[in-house]
């Protein structure tokens, strides 16, 4: 008889023997289904998105190369672009800025994002409109194509006139899709496309106006974007203003990298789900093994070796694990179709959903492996079941206890740890991150585990003989041999923990935004007010009977030198130091790295004033003394550390070509979220008053109707002045947060769902003991009602304790997140979270009673016969 034949026979026994157990084993194995589905969905989704990005990468950028700057290009850069155009490189421009849009027919205004584009924009990808085909007609006159939301907020329709500054445009169509734009960007400010030939007519881009200048290039076939970048990158990036150059490949890399990071993060959630599933499998298979003691003893009597016994049951577990993982993969593919819908506002591309065989294969493989390795731990005990069991029955617990002292079990435990690490490695990419992921997961599970152990000890310690019988019995079930307290607390606690942490963080962030907006003294701000308009706008507000809260002058400038050394010198030094360190094989960190180039090269919009604002707090030094006329500045704390400057250092500023030296005399902490103009740099009075400037004017206006009227009258007289209504910001924020929330809620519900099959397995694991005990109690005269109440007491306790553990841990987790990630204070939101806990307790009771329904049905006689 050949080995293959022998294996075939064993497989036949395994198949037949599994007959009645298949459904139960499948239930245990379904614990891993959701984990597999999460992995498959997330991996397929990131694969789909990355592929879509690659396919649409040129459309996403709009050209082969993109050049962008925060200011008008220098004459040098403009000349270079012109020469490129004559050399056969396609050139098209887009200028983006914020402004007020006004529809004269309705008299309504709104802050909008204007995008003035030149002909041929974009080179790749298609901007689609409603009615279709309007994009081609945009350049043929004073036309505008707008976001549909703008029509709603300005009560306008197609064909209406839209005023931007002093120019009038006809609304030609609405936008349907713009390649590369996030859906959520329209929520921040509705987009308006106009031909850039008429940009000048609007009169909007005046001194100090903030705009983004972008140029798209289309390379001739002879010139690759990479070669172009190699040749011109340095020339553009060292120009003033700095021009940032991006090629299609770089853009694609940036996009796919952030998608991958998102995928990695979500993958951790999936991994945790899978491991929870593994624990569910282990506790379920443990129960399965208990039921098989008699059968295995008989098989051993009939001559089965321990290896054959193990083979038979591992085969069964493997087959069911495969079915469980397959079900998970199918579910995952379903989720994959749902994810682009749930996240549509945050994705830069139209995702083509297709099956990702790699992702499905990987998910299946990991799922089957986790099912196998976690079920192997309890299955190993089968090897140690003595054939003597057929003659003399020992209690199940005794048999299992003896069987668990085993070196093979240690090997399997080690393999479980190694598997978690390896699987984490497939998520994390680097060994360091894999270890920290695995440690974080182990930490969360470990904490829940410790909580469960403590609870079951406490139950033993605090049970009092005076308690009613049913309660005592229920509590006793928490610590009796073979109890499932740990598995239930783990699965339930983890679900509640994830969901309630997400909720607490979200709630706290929202509360804080609301709080800061409410504290604000003003509710409407006018900005881009030119020096000669400030007085008039001020009187306009006062004339309407409203209060002007603050008038902040704004002066644009750059840093020229720090402590006498020019910015270019400082940057060259930092560069050399970094190179030297690299040569020594080091990486410079902290103070040794030198000032950040971002801080050195950016344009600052600074102000001057003699008094402090409520939104800022002095953290070092002294505020400007009234009689001290030396030029001083107060820096925002983070900026001071980025620039590596301390009190007493000098910074020389380049203000429109004039060099102004100043001394740092204080640093401030700024609450940026307040609805007030806040500044990195505040100058002492008398330093930059004479520099060209513009103003931001804050006012307090009682009603939204009055705000609308005021905005209209200002924009009609001074079209370049934009204004923002606080309620609009609040709406925008809650709009964006609403979208984030629904994405988070989707994840939270999924994460909670992960726990349910595990809960089922854990409860089903003790079914056999429960059945025996229940029947015995009935034989001794307990009514069905009493038996039911014992079970109710047990599951209510398990549910409540599990949920409570989750809630307590989530308060800790949320506090840590708020303190260290969001760096702000934390107020626990107890009531709603307790509600979640109560719902989970009810779920635990329902699952417990549903699984235990046989205990009610079974007559004492039938069970005694079975025993």
């Amino acid at each position: 008889m050949s080995e293959t034949k022998r294996l075939q026979r064993l497989m036949a026994i395994a198949w037949r023997e599994s007959r009645t157990a298949r459904r139960r084993l499948l239930l245990y194995m379904s614990s891993i289904s959701l984990g597999v589905s999460a992995l498959v969905a997330i991996d397929s989704f990131t694969d789909n998105v990355s592929r879509s990005v690659r396919e649409q990468s040129r459309a996403l950028l709009g050209g082969d190369v993109s050049l962008s700057a925060r200011d008008r290009y220098s004459a040098k850069a403009t000349t270079l672009l012109d020469s490129l155009a004559t050399a056969g490189v396609g050139v098209t421009h887009v200028t983006t800025f914020a402004s007020m849009g006004l529809v004269p027919r309705s008299g309504l205004t709104r802050l909008v994002q204007v995008r003035a584009v030149s002909a041929r924009y974009p080179f790749y990808g298609e901007i689609t409109t409603e009615p279709a085909g309007a994009w081609a007609r945009l350049q043929s006159g004073r036309h505008a194509i707008v976001d549909p939301s703008l029509l709603v907020s300005l009560d306008a329709q197609l064909g209406d006139t839209l005023m931007l500054g002093t120019a009038r445009f006809v609304i030609l169509a609405t936008l349907r899709s713009v390649p590369g734009d996030l859906g959520v960007s329209a929520a921040i400010g509705p987009r308006i496309y106009i031909p850039d030939a008429y940009l000048g007519e609007t009169g909007l881009l005046v001194f100090g106006s903030r705009a983004e200048y972008e140029t798209l290039l289309k390379m001739p076939p002879s010139l690759s974007p990479a070669r172009f970048a190699g040749r011109f990158n340095v020339r553009f990036s060292t120009d003033t203003p700095r021009v940032r150059l991006r090629t299609v490949a770089e853009n694609e890399f940036n996009l796919t990298q952030s998608i991958d990071q998102l995928g990695d993060f979500l993958g951790i959630v999936g991994l945790v789900a899978l491991l929870l599933g593994g624990i569910g499998v282990a506790s379920g298979v443990h129960a399965f093994v208990m039921r098989k003691i008699d059968t295995v003893a008989v098989l051993r009597c009939l001559g089965a070796t321990s290896g054959q016994v193990l083979f038979i049951y591992v085969l069964q577990a493997l087959a069911m694990g495969l079915v469980g993982a397959l079900a998970g993969a199918v579910l995952g593919v379903g989720f994959q179709f749902a994810l682009p819908w749930a996240l549509k506002d945050f994705l830069p591309v139209d995702v083509n959903v297709t099956l990702a065989p790699m992702a499905i294969g990987l998910g299946l493989g990991i799922g089957v492996w986790v099912a196998l390795i976690f079920s192997l731990r309890p299955l190993l005990s089968l090897r140690r079941i003595s054939p003597l069991q057929t003659l003399r029955r020992e209690s199940d617990a005794d048999v299992m206890r003896r069987a668990q002292r085993d070196s093979a079990a240690m090997v399997v435990s080690f393999a479980i740890v190694a598997s978690v690490l390896v699987i984490a490695l497939t998520r994390a990419g680097t060994v360091e991150r894999a270890i920290s992921y695995a440690a974080a997961i182990a930490g969360a599970i470990g904490l829940l585990w410790i909580a469960a152990v403590l609870l079951s000890r406490a139950a033993k310690q605090f049970t009092r003989p005076a308690w009613p019988f049913v309660l005592r019995q229920g509590v006793a079930n928490l610590y009796r041999p073979g109890n499932q307290t740990r598995a239930v607390i783990l699965s339930l606690g983890f679900g509640v923990f994830l969901m309630s942490t997400l909720y607490q963080v979200q709630r706290n962030l929202l509360n804080q935004l609301d709080l800061k907006l409410e504290q604000s003294r003003a509710n409407v701000v006018f900005f881009d007010v030119q020096e000669d308009q400030a007085q008039a706008v001020d009187s306009l507000i006062r004339a309407a009977g409203h209060r002007v809260v603050q008038e902040a002058p704004i002066v644009p400038m750059r840093i020229a030198a720090i402590n006498g050394r020019s910015v270019s010198q400082i940057m060259a030094d930092a560069d050399n130091a970094a190179k030297a360190a690299r040569a020594r094989g080091e990486r410079l960190t902290g103070a040794r790295r030198g000032p950040s180039s971002w801080a050195l090269r950016r344009e600052f919009r600074s102000t001057f004033r003699g008094e402090q604002m409520p939104s800022e707090k002095l953290v070092s030094g002294k505020w400007f003394a009234a009689n001290d006329r030396t030029p001083q500045i107060s820096l925002e704390r983070e900026l001071a550390s980025e620039l590596h400057v301390a009190l007493g250092d000098t910074i020389t500023w380049n203000v429109q070509g004039v060099r102004i030296p100043t001394v740092v005399t204080s640093t401030r902490e700024v609450t940026w979220a307040r609805f007030e103009p806040n500044f990195f740099v505040v100058f002492s009075p008398g330093t930059i008053e004479k520099a060209p400037k513009q103003y931001a004017i804050l006012a307090h206006v009682p009603t939204s109707a009055a705000i609308a009227a005021l905005q209209r009258s200002v924009v009609l007289r001074y079209p370049n002045v934009s204004s923002l209504d606080l309620s609009l910001i609040q709406r925008t924020i809650s709009n964006v947060i609403g979208k984030v929330t629904s994405a988070i809620r989707f994840m939270a519900i999924v994460s909670l769902a992960f726990g349910i099959p595990v809960l089922f397995s854990a409860v089903a694991a003790t079914r056999r003991e429960r059945l025996r005990e229940g029947v015995l109690l009935k034989t001794l005269g307990a009514t069905r009602r009493q038996v039911g109440r014992i079970m109710l007491a047990e599951y209510a306790l398990l549910g409540a304790l599990g949920s409570l553990t989750g809630v307590v841990l989530s308060v800790g987790g949320a506090w840590l997140l708020m303190k260290f990630v969001f760096e702000t204070s934390f107020t626990p939101a107890i009531a709603p979270v307790l509600l979640v806990g109560a719902a989970m307790t009810a779920l635990a009771i329902a699952i417990g009673l549903a699984t235990g329904r046989e205990v009610f049905r079974q007559t004492p006689m039938a069970a005694l016969r079975e025993a």
Binding site: L299, R300, C301, L302, G303, T305, P387, L391
Partner: protein, 240 residues
Amino acid sequence: MLSATGLTKEYQSGAHRLTVLRDVTFAVEQGEFLAIVGPSGSGKTTLLGLLAGLDTPSRGSVHLDGTDITAMDEDDRARLRGAKVGFVFQSFQLIPTLTAIENVQVPLELRGEANASDRAADVLRRVGLGDRLHHFPTQLSGGEQQRVAIARAFSNRPRILFADEPTGNLDSDTGTRIVELLESLNRESGSTVVLVTHDLALARRARRVIRLSDGVVVSDMSANGDGVAQAPQTSDLGAA
């Protein structure tokens, strides 16, 4: 064929050492029908477990077909059982998830034998269950279940069959029929049968009876009257 030499089994129970079997020595010839009798707690089942290699003795040895099974490891003993030993239990010990014929097939398939199902069907027909092949244990009466168990025990033509109180769970008529079945299979196949029971009427049908009391062999008698009383007969034996 089967010999026990100085078999002793002790259990440690807390500070006490409990001796369940003490220095049991005897030999069984091929084809014998032997009954081991004794009251509850006399060590019958322990002896059976040791003889069949289900357990290991504290001292002494068991030779089966010339092989010292006490020197073998757990898996080798399992292989030996698969090849040479059959079992019948008081509580039948059928695998509940398998049908009658599948239960009988198991030892054959564990040995990797061909035509397992034909052989199994054949043996089941011989024990009178030709019309019950595809019934599950729960669909069979106690007597039928025990007949399936006997069919399973004989399916791989064992050299020796151990039966532990095979009629203990059956009424006396059914019990008698089961013993008759065992006898006829013993005659036809030439298998040695070792029967453990406290039912003296059943034991009387055996050609040789070993009596145990307090873990010691007190008598070893053949049906034709020859034999040795190894120790004075104890009074509780009569009560058993």
